[in-house]
């Protein structure tokens, strides 16, 4: 491999940093796929795959992707919650991979809640 110059080094830094984004922890929001037994049975895995494909396509690194347990409304699964900094969390219900992709592009990237798929806005209070 040819010897590096300072500019090469900075480029390697920028490229490698993308690899490490999960460790840096600079997020403006997160998307949670509910993966209780009910969610998985209803197809939550496909939702995960669809979303991760979109993350990859867009090289999005400022939104944390995570999974969590059952959201408590098993009949509405598969569900996801989208939390963007400064806005109330939004829960989406009865998703398909296509709906998930639309949420990704219109809400997470575009900032517009897709009201048709929404189950509710806000979350339970923690007592």
């Amino acid at each position: 491999m040819p010897k590096l110059t300072i500019d090469d080094l900075k480029k390697i830094r920028d490229d490698s940093r993308k690899e490490l984004y999960l460790r840096e922890g600079n997020y403006r929001g997160k998307v949670i796929v509910h993966m209780g037994t009910c969610g998985i049975a209803a197809g939550a895995r496909e939702i995960v795959n669809a979303l991760l494909d979109e993350f990859d396509k867009r090289k999005l690194t400022d939104i944390m992707f995570t999974t969590s347990g059952c959201a408590g409304l098993c009949s509405e699964e598969p569900m996801i919650t989208v939390e963007i900094e400064g806005a109330a969390p939004v829960k989406y219900r009865k998703l398909t991979p296509d709906k998930a992709k639309r949420i990704f592009n219109e809400h997470i990237i575009g900032g517009k809640v897709i009201t048709d798929f929404v189950l509710g806005v806000g979350s339970e209070r923690v007592g």
Binding site: T5, K10, S16, G69
Partner: protein, 629 residues
């Protein structure tokens, strides 16, 4: 590469976790992730030492920041399914603070981590130490770029001077001063040495730096080389550190491949090479002049200074020798500036210090804290206090060259001057916590035994002086102490200090002097009353079976390895003191609700009723039952 990664598992593979089976955990994780089809979404990263060694094998789950400890391969299937597939973190693998019931899921909530400040260990657990790109991603090698593109050697020396950085190898000599002296020498070539001998018992800070972030040391060395005008560096590592050596070797190769070591670094005309030299692990080899002799292939004995190595070192040439931790600070100081660095810490001690926190402490591990933090914060907040609610007695800092600091000084800040004033020293950063069951005479004896073994023998004062100290301490702990022993020890200790040539002899009396200073009454108890208050010194204690409690169950008789206990079923057992080896196993097997076996010392030994004849428990009770009124 398809970027589907959503979770990273940062599995600690420092030496402790490695020994605890970290790589078996990694294999199991990979197997299970494959099984659940999560291989691409969830990746496993082998990191250097996380620091919370008492919880190993362990991992941190990112980006959620969840900490799991005491992992076993049998937990992994459940963990992968519950957390990584279903998103439900597994409580039973989380850290539960001592004396509490609820686990703390987030690493940021665990007090052990919360009070730390990471400068040297900034990349620990975040990067894969065997991947140079991970280091670069975290701004690695930007400091050397800055140096080579915009600073003269003298600017670098001045920046380090201004930062107030002091050597982390023990004595706390200002690093900038040392570099300045070397840079002003006209003789060439000049050499740079990173000291990773780390001979203090219980210390593993430097090993951990090499294991978790080897490139930070390479970068620090390269900057130092540029500053003093050297093109050759050595890393002196003890051969007992195979993992550190392996990672360093990989790091050097990668840096060479990237043109960050070797000729024309980063396209400039600066050249710098690094070689690893393995030492065979003698304490005295950590002393700079001995270390230099060792690299030269000579007997590692120290020599008189001056001339200092910065004037006349390796093969007679100007040589800067710095501790590994000192050097790992350098890239950060260059990148973030001397002003930033000198704002951390106290007036005279800047930055942070890594300590290995061991001994009688709940949270054993490796910590990096700002200078000026108090001992109390370290012991009780980061360390989580003393196990089993025992009382804190002292903390030994500075290893065999340091001293014991008692409870009344727990609120003093940790910096070079305060520790010295307390009769101890910073040393390289070992911190051994002692509870009420620790005997200070025994501790002093332990350290003198160590330095006596490790003395190279060149100076009479160190060689024979440590012999004499050991002899008196042994006598005292054997119950043969005499009036005047404490005064004799003090006088002898002072002369060993004064008459020895190198730091080994000059500091070896510290454990004796500091324990006499703070715990004189304990020495007196050993000498005058033949009593060991902490019940440690074997010749001063006896195990004794309380006839009022013994039920004659035979358990202790079956356990005793020297057949020193006689008795029959339902008869009171009796220990034959002549045969007893004081191993204490009888006390451990005696059922807790009976607790018939006592450990006694001093006057108590004579005050106990000594049975000679076997007597049944029933009969004893009849004779001794207190009359009911």
């Amino acid at each position: 590469m398809a970027e589907k990664k959503r979770i990273e598992l940062m599995v600690c593979t420092g030496t402790g976790c490695f020994a605890g089976g970290a790589y078996q955990i990694i294999d199991e994780l990979k197997k299970e992730l494959e099984l659940f089809g999560l291989k691409e979404e969830v990746t496993v990263v082998a990191t250097g030492c996380n620091g919370f060694c008492g919880q190993g094998p362990l991992m941190v789950v990112l980006p959620d920041n969840i900490f799991y400890g005491w992992l076993e391969t049998k937990d992994i299937h459940h963990l992968v399914e519950e957390h990584f597939l279903k998103g439900r973190p597994v409580k039973k693998l989380m850290f539960i603070p001592p004396e509490q019931k609820e686990p703390l899921p987030l690493i940021s909530d665990i007090p052990f981590f919360k009070k730390q400040l990471l400068i040297v260990l900034r990349n620990k657990g975040i990067i894969d130490p065997e991947k140079i790109t991970d280091y670069i991603a975290r701004d690695g090698y930007l400091a050397i770029s800055k140096v080579l593109s915009s600073m003269n050697p003298i600017d670098v020396v001045n920046e380090i001077l201004k930062s107030g950085l002091r050597g982390r190898g023990g004595a706390g000599f200002p690093t900038g001063r040392k570099w300045q002296v070397a840079s002003q020498q006209s003789k060439s070539p000049k050499y740079l040495i990173a000291n990773c001998d780390e001979g203090d018992p219980g210390a593993y800070m430097d090993r951990s730096v090499l294991e978790s972030d080897p490139h930070s040391v390479i970068e620090g060395m390269t900057i130092a080389g540029y500053a003093i005008g050297s093109t050759n560096g050595f890393i002196y590592v003890r051969t007992e550190y195979p993992l550190a050596i392996k990672r360093m070797r990989i790091a050097i190769e990668q840096a060479q491949e990237y043109g960050l070591l070797g000729k024309n670094i980063l396209g400039t005309n600066f050249n710098f090479e690094i070689e690893i030299r393995e030492g065979s692990g003698a304490f005295v080899c950590g002393e700079e002049t001995s270390l230099i002799h060792s690299i030269e292939g000579n007997i590692p004995e120290p020599r008189q200074r001056p001339p200092f190595p910065a004037q006349e070192g390796l093969w007679g040439c100007p040589t800067v020798i710095n501790n590994v931790e000192t050097l790992a600070n350098v890239p950060v100081i260059i990148s973030r500036g001397a002003d930033w660095f000198s704002n951390i810490g106290t007036e005279t001690s800047k930055g942070t210090k890594i300590f290995s926190l061991v001994g009688k402490i709940n949270n054993t591990g490796l910590i990096e804290v700002p200078m000026g933090i108090t001992l109390r914060e370290v012991v009780y907040e980061i360390g989580g206090g003393i196990p089993k609610d025992k009382k804190f007695k002292a903390v030994q800092t500075g290893g065999p060259s340091g001293g014991c600091i008692p409870a009344e000084l727990l609120d003093s800040p940790i910096d070079f001057e305060s520790l010295q004033k307390a009769g101890s020293m910073m040393g390289s950063g070992g911190m051994i916590v002692m509870d009420e069951d620790t005997c200070v005479v025994d501790v002093a004896k332990f350290f003198i035994q160590f330095t006596n073994d490790e003395s190279c023998g060149k100076c009479v004062s160190c060689r024979d002086g440590s012999d004499a100290l050991l002899e008196v301490l042994t006598r005292i702990s054997n119950g043969e102490g005499m009036d005047g022993d404490v005064e004799f020890l003090t006088e002898l200790a002072e002369s060993v200090k004064d008459a020895s040539m190198c730091g080994l002899g000059q500091t070896l009396p510290n454990p004796v002097l500091s324990t006499i200073r703070y715990f004189k009454e304990e020495y007196e108890a050993h000498i005058k009353e033949k009593r060991c208050p902490a019940l440690v010194c074997r010749n001063l204690i006896e195990y004794y079976i309380d006839p009022n409690k013994c039920v004659g169950c035979l358990l202790c008789i079956k356990t005793c390895p020297t057949e020193a206990i006689k008795g029959e079923s339902k008869h009171i057992h009796i220990i034959d003191q002549e045969k007893c080896s004081k191993c204490g196993q009888c006390m451990e097997v005696c059922p807790p609700k009976i607790s018939a076996i006592l450990k006694i010392t001093g006057k108590d030994i004579n005050n106990m009723v000594q049975l000679t004849e076997l007597i049944s428990c029933k009969e004893w009770k009849k004779e001794h039952e207190p009359a009911h009124s």
